[in-house]
C-alpha cells in the first residue's frame, strides 16, 4: 500500500493571525466551518488540527445560542 502524501495543513498553523478570529462575535468567519445545512464540518475534512477544532466547536455553539448562526438551515430564508 503506497501512502499518499496529500496531507492537509491546518489553516491556523499556517497563519497564526487567524486564531484571534475564533470568536463567536466573528460569526462571518465561523461560517466557513459549517455546511449549508448548519452542521459543523469535521476537522479531517477541513484540515483543522484538533486543538483549534475544539475551539471552533465551542465558539460555533455559542454563536448558535445567540442566533448569530443557525442550528439547522431554514428553508424559508
Amino acid at each position: 500500500m503506497a501512502l499518499t502524501n496529500n496531507k492537509k495543513i491546518c489553516p491556523f498553523k499556517e497563519d497564526p493571525k487567524l486564531i484571534s478570529k475564533i470568536n463567536y462575535k466573528d460569526y462571518k468567519f465561523l461560517r466557513k466551518f459549517i455546511t449549508e445545512q448548519g452542521k459543523i464540518i469535521p476537522g479531517f475534512v477541513t484540515g483543522v488540527s484538533s486543538k483549534y477544532q475544539r475551539m471552533l466547536t465551542k465558539e460555533i455553539k455559542k454563536a448558535r445560542n445567540i442566533a448569530l448562526l443557525p442550528y439547522v438551515h431554514d428553508p424559508r430564508n
Binding site: 463567536y24 462575535k25 455559542k62 448558535r64 445560542n65 445567540i66 442566533a67 448569530l68 448562526l69 443557525p70 442550528y71 431554514d74
Partner: protein, 190 residues
C-alpha cells in the same frame, strides 16, 4: 477581578428612544449588583438565524463587565425574566479582549446607520479591488451608497428611522447573496 461580556438581543419593535431606556435600565441593574460596566457596544438591528418569540429581527447589544464573579448568575436570571430581552449570552473574557475606544450610546444608536453604510461602502470597495468583476457588478454598489447617503440626511426629520435601517440591512444582506449568485451565473454563462 474577572472580566465578562454579555451579548443580549433587545426586542426589535422598540424604537431608538425606548431602546436607550432599556439599555440604561439594564446597565443600572448590573451596577446595583456590584458589577462594573466597562463599555457598551450597540451592534444594530440584525436578522436572527432562527425565530425567537416569533421575531425575525433583533437589536444586539454587547456589554463588557468587571466583577469578582459572585453575581454573574443573578444577572442571567434578571435577563431571563426581562420581557424585552429575547436572548442573552454571558461569557468570560481575557483582559486583552476589552474594547478600548467606546463611543457614547446616543452616537451608537443614532449613528449606527450612517457608520454601517460607510462600512458597507468600504467593504464593497474592497470586494471591487480584490476581485476582477465585470462592470455590471461594480455598478451595483454605487446607487446603494447614494441611496443610503440620502437616507442618512433625511433621518432627523423621519420618525420611522428604525424601520429604514432594518430595510437597508435586509437589502444589503440580500445583495451580498445576489452578488455571489450573479458571479456564479456569470461563470455558468461563460
Amino acid at each position: 477581578m474577572n472580566y465578562y461580556e454579555t451579548l443580549y438581543i433587545v426586542h426589535p419593535a422598540l424604537e431608538s428612544g425606548r431602546l436607550k431606556d432599556i439599555i440604561i435600565s439594564i446597565q443600572g441593574m448590573f451596577e446595583s449588583k456590584d458589577i462594573k460596566v466597562l463599555c457598551t457596544d450597540y451592534w444594530g438591528k440584525k436578522k436572527l438565524a432562527y425565530l425567537i418569540d416569533k421575531q425575525q429581527y433583533g437589536s444586539y447589544v454587547l456589554v463588557q463587565l468587571q466583577s469578582n464573579g459572585d453575581n454573574i448568575n443573578k444577572i442571567n436570571t434578571e435577563l431571563e425574566h426581562n420581557p424585552d430581552v429575547l436572548s442573552y449570552l454571558t461569557s468570560r473574557i481575557d483582559e486583552s479582549n476589552l474594547i478600548k475606544d467606546s463611543r457614547s450610546l446616543d452616537d451608537q444608536i443614532l449613528g449606527s446607520k450612517s457608520s454601517e453604510s460607510e462600512n458597507k461602502s468600504t467593504e464593497a470597495a474592497k470586494v471591487e479591488s480584490s476581485s476582477s468583476d465585470s462592470k455590471e457588478d461594480s455598478s451595483d454598489p454605487e446607487p446603494k451608497e447614494e441611496s443610503s447617503g440620502s437616507d442618512s440626511k433625511e433621518e432627523p426629520s423621519d420618525s420611522d428611522s428604525s424601520e429604514v435601517s432594518s430595510d437597508e440591512e435586509v437589502s444589503d444582506s440580500d445583495n451580498d447573496n445576489e452578488e455571489l449568485t450573479s458571479e456564479d451565473k456569470d461563470g455558468a454563462d461563460e
